[in-house]
Amino acid sequence: MFGQLFIKECRQTAKSLIYWLIVLVLIFNFATQLGNMDIMQKPKEGQEDYGYKQSDDKNMIMRTTLGQLLEEYYRESYSTYPIGFYKSVTLNDKEDKQIEEIIKETTGLSGRTETRKAIEKWYAAQPKETNAEGALVLRKSMEAEPVEGLTFERFEELMDEADHILGGGSGYEEVSRKSASVPMTYEDAVEEYRKLTEKDRLTGGYARLFSDYMVIFLGLLPVFLAVTRELRDKRAGMQDLIYTRKGSSVNIIASRYLSMLIMLVLPVLALSVIPLSQCLRYASASGISADIWAYVKYIFGWLLPTIMTATAVGMFFTELTDTALAVLIQGAWWFVAVFTGISTLKGGIYGWSLIPRHNTELNWTGFHDNFSQLASNRIVYASISIILVAFTAFIYNQKRKGRYTVSWKGFGRLKK
């Protein structure tokens, strides 16, 4: 029964307007973002620039981060971006003391007076340059010398603490500390290229880039399909006819869920053929052994858990409330995930975001080093979505038996 129901559900999806609108949006997204993708050429010596890379010079990271901390501490005002929007934070006395402690431990400076002196001293030592209008220009932002013996691990701990005190999104969180980018040298560029072609076998890097552009839309669009599907029975007046059937609720809900997932993955797979063939052409011309399955791996590993979650949220809240509430919930989630993700655009930091970003075909190292984080992220979302679907089936079953009724616009009631 499951198989036949699954096929019927797929057909139903294929006949629905909303599905084709979603496909259209995906095609549009692909065409505008990846329509004319250039494959990276092997860097040549003597190029004007080789792009940027994230700095991994620990001393440098410590110096600039502490410099910023001193300045903000002195100003008594901190700039944060909790969900990508600017927010200035001022601290109360207790929190201010905590930051003071952190500064003492990391730089040896205690109190505002010493801090002011350190800032003044640093700026006085900078070369004075003026621009065309005669205004003073500084080439470098404030840096501060860490105390001797401060390990990088302890520094990271303390910065996490500072970020926590500031409510997140500050310049001291892991993301910002790592985002200091430095220009790449020719050697760096060759190394990145080598990793792209050897470690990622070319297609790996481009499949990640593809996933990055797709995941933004796939973090939201499936919810529309799921909500429409779950509302359809009620809207068509067909609910009671289906409720009184013998078929089990688990079968009904699971077949719907699975069919929506497959129907959503299909256009993504189809679109991936275009960049894949581009990569394969380049690979065979330059003698790179490309991984033909890279796109499939990334679509199922990276994108599917996000599709699963958005679909499950749609089904769950629609069965729970009989309203379009899920659109609002997924919309809010999407909003927060995308805006907080702006600071992790270049990949390597995936955290627990529903929409993990990696907006470059490079940075294999970042991907490789944080793979276990990404994997746990994806597994957690896949699990959450399956749990949500299980709850959906439970609610559906209670509704069929008249044990759960939605009495007023979204406020359900479970009997006994």
């Binding site: 307007l17 909303i18 609108l21 949006v25 549009f28 997204n29 505008t32 973002q33 909790p82 969900i83 929007f85 600017y86 927010k87 200035s88 933004i216 839309f217 939201l220 669009l221 529309f224 909500v227 429409t228 509302l231 809207r235 379009a324 659109v327 609002l328 919309g331 927060v336 995308v338 616009k409 979204g410």
Partner: protein
């Protein structure tokens, strides 16, 4: 006039409350998510254009929802008052609510020492609010599917965030944070057209041919 007020009263009592509360929640939690104090003109524009403007989708898209059921629609459309008139009253009421929301929010920003030209921003964001709402209303009206109605402005929003003004040109919704204003006039014109077509399309079958 009395009749129109009655229509709006029913709207306020039965249909608006939930959406109203969602807007209150959306605006109410904004200080937790972003700064609303001492902002520069650009940062203020960001908050208004990328966040506050979303209330348009919430308040205007579901304007046809009370008559979603075909039987109810038949009942209402058969009445002396034209359906389009009912929708217009409802729309006007919801737009007034939006205007008030926006006014209060901008007032609070100003009180919090944000630096920006008040009236210019007010009308700019209001045009954007109407555009997002009009887009939702249009797609809902044409497709007879509320979910598609929500999807259209939300997808538009994503495209604006992702592709920026490169694709949307004069209809780029976040122009004020880039220091440009002409886009708002286009958005307003588009909002009027979309709303008019949406309502007219939905009211077909009610003698408004």
């Amino acid at each position: 006039m009395e009749r129109l007020w009655q229509i709006e009263k029913v709207n306020l009592k039965h249909h608006v409350l939930l959406h109203f509360l969602v807007c209150v929640l959306l605006l109410g939690i904004s200080p937790l998510l972003m700064g609303v104090k001492n902002l520069t003109a650009v940062d203020t524009a960001k908050v208004l254009e990328r966040y506050v403007a979303l209330i348009g989708i919430i308040m205007l898209t579901p304007i046809f929802l009370p008559e979603q059921d075909r039987d109810i629609r038949g009942l209402v459309y058969a009445k002396y008052t034209k359906a389009s008139q009912v929708y217009m009253v409802r729309l006007a009421g919801n737009i007034l609510i939006l205007a008030a929301f926006l006014g209060i929010y901008i007032f609070v920003l100003k009180q919090n020492q944000c630096e920006f030209p008040v009236l210019k921003y007010y009308f700019g964001v209001f045009a954007e609010v109407l555009f997002f709402g009009g887009l939702g209303l249009f797609f809902y009206g044409v497709s007879d599917n509320l979910i598609i109605g929500y999807m259209a402005p939300m997808v538009y929003y994503i495209i604006a965030i992702g592709g920026g003004d490169k694709y949307l040109k004069m209809f780029y919704p976040f122009s004020m944070s880039m220091g440009k204003y002409e886009e708002k006039i286009c958005l307003f014109a588009a909002a009027v057209v979309l709303t008019a077509i949406g309502i007219r399309f939905r009211s077909v079958g009610d003698g408004v041919k």
